[in-house]
């Protein structure tokens, strides 16, 4: 599922649930920070505007494999934000010259995922078992299999851009930040305990260090 020989690296601790939202609501978080995090928590998703309904189903299912919401209080979906961005036609300030403009790149990438599912399983991507979905996405990541020759479209570069954007959106969400034990948003007082191993009262303790 990943490039690395030891995929996740060293085992990570587990973090407690339920601490982040009360901290965001507390005076330990400044108003501007609370406002922007609360907006993200309250966001409701409109119908897709960039992808058509079928392509969006594929795309959303694929995003949910890249950044799965396993174990979170509720799902953190990144597909709506990317769809909204593509509909607006904005980007992150650059793109690889080897790729077409973002909108076209995403359309081609998602179409290739659909075609790979159809070719290997005669089913739609969103109806496949997670392991089969992951196998297709791994091929996309490495531009191999059904993604090896897409008429000049470099699936490897597109996948890297997409994954980076999805990862940023996911870990920018307070529920995902809670899951990694990050309390940096509690920004009103500043930090005085910044050395190795130091923890302040408002930071969570790992459950399995």
């Amino acid at each position: 599922m990943s490039d690395s020989p030891t995929p996740g690296g060293a085992p990570s601790p587990e973090w407690p649930a339920g601490w982040a939202l009360p901290l965001i609501a507390s005076p330990e978080t400044t108003a501007p920070t609370r406002r922007s995090l609360q907006e993200r928590l309250d966001a409701t998703h409109d119908a897709p505007r960039f992808f058509d309904a079928d392509a969006y189903e594929t795309f959303a299912a694929a995003c949910a494999r890249l950044v799965p919401s396993t174990g979170l209080d509720r799902p953190v979906d990144v597909a709506p934000s990317i769809d909204a961005r593509l509909a607006k036609g904005t980007g992150d300030g650059w793109r690889y010259a080897a790729l077409p403009p973002d909108g076209e790149a995403f359309r081609r990438g998602v179409a290739a995922i659909d075609a790979a599912a159809e070719g290997a399983h005669a089913e739609r991507f969103c109806d496949l078992a997670p392991a089969d979905q992951d196998a297709i996405l791994t091929d996309a990541q490495h531009a191999r299999g059904a993604f090896a020759d897409l008429d000049g479209f470099d699936a490897r570069l597109w996948f890297a851009d997409w994954l980076s954007e999805a990862a940023g959106l996911f870990f920018g969400h307070p529920l995902a930040q809670q899951d990694i034990g990050y309390a940096g948003f509690a920004d009103a007082p500043g930090w005085t305990r910044i050395t190795l191993g130091a923890r302040e009262e408002r930071e969570p303790l790992p459950e399995t260090p």
């Binding site: 990570s12 922007s36 650059w94 990862a167 990694i180 990050y182 920004d187």
Partner: protein
């Protein structure tokens, strides 16, 4: 005529703001035009990286070459203050030898003036911005004037680098950072409060402790009568029949305005400066060429104790023992730096750099609070084919997108391989596990370089564009060599020097 100025300054970052301040203090009628917005950091800056993406220049740049450069969150900035709004505030000085790399190694290009011409302005900038750093500083020539404030406290990454470097025999020191370790007063600016270790320098400081231009040179300039116009995007440098610059045309919320001035200072950074020159057919055959980007390899590792890497000044510790390594098989050198990181930035990097996704990414990120990094910042040699041109594609403003080509050369590859070995030794000695590297290039430099003659440069030693009288460039596009240091301090110092030369004080 009311709309005539002594000088127009395009851009309010590290290149433009000090010029604005210097000229205003000299009594000139000056105005700065800034493409981005004016922010109120207390109210507008959240401790939330996604919200703060608004500090990045997102007009698309098309990036080509074997080492295509990332822009947006890397290598760009917008808003009153420019990219100093999100710089790390790491302010090492160049060494005298860095300005004479051709003399020392026979490659690259020397600066058209020596370190002595820059030194007084480095001191002035450090004193004005309130740089926190050690006295004495362990590397480089002795200094007449030390840093005005003691170093900022060391965070976990800095402690770990200290531990690892000591074990392998590399000297370290608390770094110089343009963020305040104590409250600080300057005439024309007022009091600024000490840093609270919020660690969000790269996403916008909300307390004014970090010396971005919007809390230092810009208020100083305004106190001396300068005008700053946000959300004004310059599209044209107007010229008279003799080719002399006469002013600019800019767009503000859809309305075009023409401004006249005796002199135009172009301070838009190493992408937008050459882009505007190319769009106007200014600057000659060297415009856009010799683009350099610092090798900025990062090494990350996981530690047994929590690091909580978002706390404190990100670049707490430095070593310059690698400025001229004994076993170097490359020209120039590099510095070593401990680095903090915010979670979204780290997640984007671990996704792109290691290709982690799915449950592997989730699992890795649960260890975010135990991660620490070190990186280098090294010389990059200029190559004329590393360059910015205008693309056939246009952006939402209807202007040609910049097209950027960057291939690293053999010198940068050798330096990066050397640094990879050194940093892995340090991190191994510090007790890191699951060590991985992220290759990247930071800062875009040198696309309108200065030189002694028009034969091999775009501007003269004082930033004057050879082929366009009345137009002066002040930003890191004029750097003839990249210097193995973060550029902001040198950009500010050279901006002050450029302004003094213009005022006849050079």
């Amino acid at each position: 005529m009311t709309d005539r100025y002594d000088a127009i300054i395009i851009g309010t970052g590290a290149g433009g703001a000090p010029v604005l301040a210097r000229l205003a203090a000299a009594g000139l009628r000056v105005v700065a035009l800034e493409a981005g917005r004016l922010w109120n950091p207390t109210e507008d800056f959240a401790t939330d990286e996604l919200e703060q993406d608004k500090l990045f220049w997102i007009d698309e740049r098309i990036s080509a070459g074997t080492d295509a450069l990332a822009f947006g969150a890397n290598n760009s900035g917008i808003g009153v203050g420019g990219s100093t709004l999100h710089y790390t505030a790491y302010t090492p000085r160049p060494h005298p030898a860095d300005l004479a790399i051709k003399t020392e190694f026979g490659v690259g290009m020397d600066w058209p003036f020596g370190f002595d011409a820059l030194e007084p302005y480095l001191t002035e900038a450090e004193q004005f911005m309130g740089v926190s750093g050690p006295n004495p500083y362990p590397w480089g020539p002795p200094r007449k004037t030390g840093y005005p404030l003691p170093p900022l406290p060391l965070n976990a990454a800095a402690q770990l680098m200290q531990r690892g470097a000591e074990a392998v025999g590399i000297r370290t020191s608390p770094a110089a950072n343009a963020a305040l370790s104590g409250s600080y007063y300057r005439e024309g600016v007022g009091w600024r409060a000490a840093c609270t270790n919020r660690g969000f320098c790269q996403a916008g400081c909300n307390t004014g402790a970090k010396a971005s231009m919007d809390v230092t040179y810009i208020p100083f300039a305004q106190a001396h009568g300068a005008e700053v116009r946000p959300e004004c995007f310059v599209t044209e440098i107007t010229r008279d029949s003799t080719g002399r610059a006469t002013g600019v045309v800019y767009t503000h919320r859809g309305t075009e305005t023409r401004l006249e001035a005796d002199t135009v200072f172009l301070c838009a950074g190493s992408v937008e400066t050459p882009r505007l020159m190319l769009m106007n057919g200014i600057g000659g055959e060297h415009v856009g060429r010799h683009l350099m980007a610092h090798p900025g390899l990062q090494i990350w590792g996981r530690f047994d104790e929590p690091t909580r890497p978002f706390k404190g000044i990100p670049g707490g510790l430095i070593s310059e023992d690698t400025h001229r390594p004994d076993d170097a098989d490359f020209a120039g050198g590099y510095l070593l730096q401990s680095i903090g990181v915010m979670p979204v930035t780290y997640a984007r990097q671990v996704a792109r750099g290691r290709g982690l996704w799915g449950e592997d990414l989730r699992e890795h990120m649960r260890g975010y609070g135990y991660v620490a990094g070190i990186n280098i910042l090294g010389d990059c040699l200029p190559h004329e084919d590393n360059r910015i041109t205008l693309s056939d594609e246009t952006d939402a403003r209807g202007l040609p997108k910049p097209h950027v080509v960057f291939d690293v050369g053999e010198n940068e590859q050798r330096m990066t391989a050397h640094a990879d070995r050194v940093m892995r030794q340090i991190w191994d000695a510090a007790g890191a596990r699951d060590v991985w590297s992220f290759d990247r290039h930071a800062h875009v430099i040198g696309t309108a370089r200065m030189g002694a003659t028009a034969d091999d440069s775009v501007v003269d030693r004082d930033g004057r564009v050879w082929d366009t009288p009345g137009l002066i460039v002040s930003d890191n596009s004029t750097f003839p060599s990249s210097l193995p240091v973060n550029p902001a301090l040198t950009i500010v110092a050279n901006a002050l020097r450029t302004a003094d030369a213009f005022l006849g004080r050079g």
